[in-house]
């Protein structure tokens, strides 16, 4: 019990550092660009434009209101991929600091995820805009969406803590993970309807953790229905389990980080 009190106290002590690091990363991402943080808004819109053009003209998609359908999946997936990809390298980038001063090391990884989450929240404005422009039906079920965002955030934290730890010892993970993310991207039904996957390959979606978040988020925002309780539970457990494993893996190894970076 005392251990956790100490944890909380250190976290409180370094919370100002965490907020500074997040602010620094947000500021630096678009530093020097003319439009600055507006890019967080523009980028998904441009992606949406390209994909909508491709899929509605070339492939003649059957999806109703494709921009909203696609953005729901795209934004969720994009947050997961960018937050895990950047935070897996966070400890290595901060080596100059960690090897010289004591700070709780998870602060560094968490700050990376938080700054990505801020970009993600900004990009959600796009979704709202597009829904208004396309006159999409918004139901009361949209209130489920924040629950998914919180679960997704926790899930990404867990995965990032694991990845950041492993990357310190094996740099190869970085390259493998890039490929894995591309595979996941195509297997997440972002720009195609989930049912076009043949029955015998449906397991791909079942084993893809991100798809559960996309499915639930889409239910509440795009379809405007109450998400399936099964889906909510799966997302909850994914978030919970990944966080527990992430914290354990990180904590067991954090004293060795300095010897490897």
């Amino acid at each position: 019990m005392r251990k956790y009190v100490v944890y909380l106290k250190t976290f409180q002590k370094y919370s100002f550092l965490l907020s500074l690091l997040v602010r620094k990363e947000v500021k630096k991402k678009y530093k020097g660009s003319f439009l600055g943080i507006l890019w967080s808004l523009l980028n998904p819109l441009l992606h949406m434009l390209v994909l909508t053009l491709v899929f509605s003209t070339l492939f003649n998609t059957s999806i109703e209101n494709f921009p909203v359908y696609m953005l729901c999946g795209f934004l969720i997936f994009n947050f997961f991929s960018s937050s895990t990809m950047t935070s897996m390298k966070s400890l290595i980038f901060a080596s100059g600091l960690i090897t010289k001063v004591y700070i709780p090391k998870y602060i560094i990884t968490i700050s990376t995820i938080l700054s990505n989450f801020i970009f993600f929240l900004i990009s959600l404005i796009d979704l709202v805009l597009i829904m208004i422009v396309t006159r999409a039906d918004i139901t009361v079920n949209v209130l489920y969406a924040p629950i998914y965002l919180i679960f997704l955030f926790i899930f990404s934290c867990g995965i990032s803590l694991m990845l950041a730890t492993v990357t310190v010892f094996f740099r190869d993970i970085e390259h493998i993970y890039g490929v894995l993310i591309t595979a996941l991207h195509f297997a997440s039904a972002i720009f195609y309807p989930a049912d076009i996957i043949p029955q015998k390959y449906q397991f791909v979606l079942q084993f893809n953790p991100i798809y559960y978040f996309i499915e639930g988020f889409r239910d509440s925002v795009y379809y405007g229905v109450t998400p399936h309780i099964y889906n909510l539970l799966v997302c909850f457990f994914l978030a919970f389990i990944s966080l527990v494993i992430g914290v354990l893996v990180f904590e067991r190894n954090q004293d060795k980080f300095i010897l490897h970076i």
Partner: protein, 249 residues
């Protein structure tokens, strides 16, 4: 014991020097299979024990590679010892590397906040010290430009001002007397002296025995990771001097 600030008990630090650095899974698997993972152990510190009371000023001397910096890093909490434990009461300001946490894209002012936060200070506290830090650094209006445009002397001045103005309980100094230009050096030496003499607990690592004698009460002499002697500054420094001059021949 309330008046013990730092207690080092049986601390050993072992570094695993693998003969080749394994950084990829492929290498790791191949080498594990072939039982080819060879390590040679290197002890930077071997069962070191001592304690430092509140307000005591300790010098650490020894040749290069004696384990001085490793010891400082362990006390500062950067390294975790392989064996033994270290208890520290109070906040530690490591003057190991000035401005270790600087971000070169940010301005001097932003870096003051960042660096102080790295040392675990709250916003409220930094606000109250901000003016004093800027004033002491003597950077004036330069404080608002990114520090990538600073000269190395200016950067050192800022780092020194932050570290010394934050009023730490325990000061760890690793050969840093003398940063910046002549004028600032004089000012920083004075600050150092007043900090050292203000009743704070000080740990000083230096190759200048003159400085050590002058600034500390007690000296630890390390040699190849072991304590050779510990005691009154003058006595231990003289012993060390005698050893150095005899081994040179």
């Amino acid at each position: 014991m309330a008046n013990v600030d730092i207690e080092v008990k049986n601390v050993s630090m072992r570094f695993r020097l693998s003969n080749e650095k394994v950084e990829s899974i492929k290498e790791f698997i191949f080498k594990s299979l072939k039982k080819n993972l060879q390590y040679s152990d290197f002890y930077a510190l071997k069962s070191i024990s001592f304690s430092i009371s509140k307000g005591e000023r300790i010098g650490i001397i020894g040749q290069n590679g004696a384990g001085k910096s490793t010891l400082l890093k362990i006390i500062a909490g950067v390294l975790k010892p392989t064996e033994g434990e270290v208890k520290v009461n109070g906040s530690v300001a490591p003057l190991l590397e000035l401005g270790a946490g600087f971000d070169h894209e940010l301005t001097g002012a932003e870096n003051i906040y960042l660096n102080a936060a790295i040392l675990g200070k709250s916003k409220h506290y930094i606000d109250s010290k901000y003016d004093e830090i800027v004033e002491f650094s003597g950077l004036g209006d330069f404080i608002h430009i990114p520090i990538k445009n600073y000269s190395s002397g200016m950067r050192a001045r800022l780092g020194f001002s932050i570290a010394t103005r934050l009023d730490p309980d325990i000061l760890i100094i690793d050969e840093i007397l003398g940063v910046g230009d002549e004028q600032f050096r004089k000012k920083s030496t004075e600050t150092m002296m007043s900090l050292v003499n203000s009743g704070k607990t000080v740990i000083l690592v230096s190759h200048s025995l003159h400085q050590v004698k002058q600034l500390t009460d007690k000296v630890i002499w390390l040699h190849k990771g072991e304590i050779v002697a510990i005691g009154d500054s003058n006595t231990v420094c003289d012993q060390y001097m005698a050893y150095i001059s005899s081994s040179k021949i």
